[in-house]
Amino acid sequence: MNEWIYIQNAVVPALWKGLVVSIELIVPSAIMGLLLGIVVGTLRVYGSVFLRLLSDGYVVLFRGVPLLVQLFTWYFGLPHIGIFLSPFSASVLGFTLCSAAYHSEYVRGALLSIKRGQIMAAQSLGFSTLDTLRYIVLPQAIRRALPGCGNEIIYLIKYSSLAYMITCIELTGQAKALASQSFKYLEIFLIVGFIYLVLVSIASWLLNKLENALVIPGFELYKS
């Protein structure tokens, strides 16, 4: 009974607060990460030699360095060169840059799978290079990249828990604080685990709906 009151009075409000912060971290990071990933993936395939090298380098770096190290760099490192980010901004920056690197990988693969004939046909109609990309290549590539990008967003939901390491107290951070006060580690982390599971399930469901909405004959294969 005591336990129940504790959960109601302390755990629920704290976790709720944490959940709100988590969602505030995840949503913009997912959107910006995806958009940046599309740009970077496109540059990696169609950019000039210089842009290709630059974007390839970016991906090597951000996929290769542990996310936690990246977050520490943004939060604890940048102040040394005079840039001060709040824990929240540093987290969103870190998640976006890391997520974009992974997204770009899926986008790149999808772009490479578009047949050259599609591009030649567009050019023969008088499409500019940019319009060919916008209206012909990307709409097809995004359909093909979607399952992979969806996966990356699912990962993002889970690794957003790293934000608490740079003092952005989101869901996991709140749980950690509660647990170290009450020593009810098992109960609290079971609840938190369950909440992440629900978040991931909702995201999967939404992504699935999106994929279904985008399915057209000839592209069903790419449905996950």
Partner: protein, 255 residues
């Protein structure tokens, strides 16, 4: 400009891949309403030539004139405007896979010609009717047969009101029973006065519709002239042997 001036003229087009010469100083011209057919063995450079004409492949040297104007392919605007006026039909159709038949035809009107969507769709529907596909307007390429796809691609080119059309073996990728429907559409184009340059192995069809047949081999034009002359009384021995070989493969077409 009189009717006798060429609509499309190409001068000394050459193209190398590495050290391999694919096109050696090719020149030809087409007058309004003419149909010229390119024949020649595989690897002769027919596709490369057609792609050089609208700069899908950049020629190393040579000039292309449309309506007497020399096209500067380095000026993007000029290049894009030129390409709108030159329709291209590919061997493997190259329909946009993510768009319906109707959208395939209207997208150039909407995105390139900047025509209002409703007008563009109306025009696209007209073109689909012209190739006999109005009931298939809402199908995606994956739902169409090869012959239907090629007809959509012809409608897509026609919607742009091209001054000349380049066709690269439009029926080579089709099952034999589907060749006829596409050839019919092309025959109608010939009759409606479209100006065309077409590569094909359908000698029989070429003989029926071409004003001139151009025989190419190893990147050069070996011989050209009216179908009767090229197919039945070729001066060049290589033209002769090619035509008889084609005859063997495609049956008793010339008899």
């Amino acid at each position: 400009m009189t009717n006798r001036d060429p609509i499309l003229k190409i001068e000394n087009i050459s193209k190398k891949y590495g050290s391999k010469e694919i096109l050696r100083s090719i020149s030809l011209e087409i007058k309004k309403g003419e149909t010229k057919v390119l024949i020649g063995p595989s690897g002769a450079g027919k596709s490369t030539l057609l792609q050089c004409i609208n700069f899908l492949v950049m020629p190393d040297t040579g000039k292309v004139y449309l309506d007497g104007r020399c096209i500067n392919s380095r000026k993007k605007k000029e290049l894009y405007t030129y390409r709108q006026q030159v329709g291209m039909i590919f061997q493997d159709f190259n329909l946009f896979d993510h768009l319906t038949a109707l959208e395939n035809v209207s997208i150039g009107l909407i995105r390139v010609k900047k025509i209002k969507r409703s007008e563009a769709n109306e025009r696209a529907m007209q073109e689909l009717k012209r190739v006999g596909l109005e009931e298939h307007a809402n199908k995606y390429p994956a739902q169409l047969s090869g012959g239907q796809k090629q007809r959509v691609s012809i409608a897509r080119a026609l919607a742009m009101d091209p001054k000349v059309m380049l066709l690269d073996e439009p029926t080579s990728a089709l099952d034999p029973e589907l060749v006829g429907e596409v050839l019919n559409v092309i025959r109608n184009l010939v009759e409606s006065g479209m100006t065309m340059l077409m590569a094909t192995h359908q000698i029989n069809f070429a003989a029926a519709v071409a004003d001139e047949i151009i025989f190419m081999e190893n990147g050069t034009i070996i011989e050209h002239g009216p179908p009767q002359e090229i197919l039945f009384k070729p001066k060049n021995s290589r033209t002769k042997s090619f035509c008889s070989k084609i005859n063997e493969i495609y049956g008793d077409m010339l008899t």
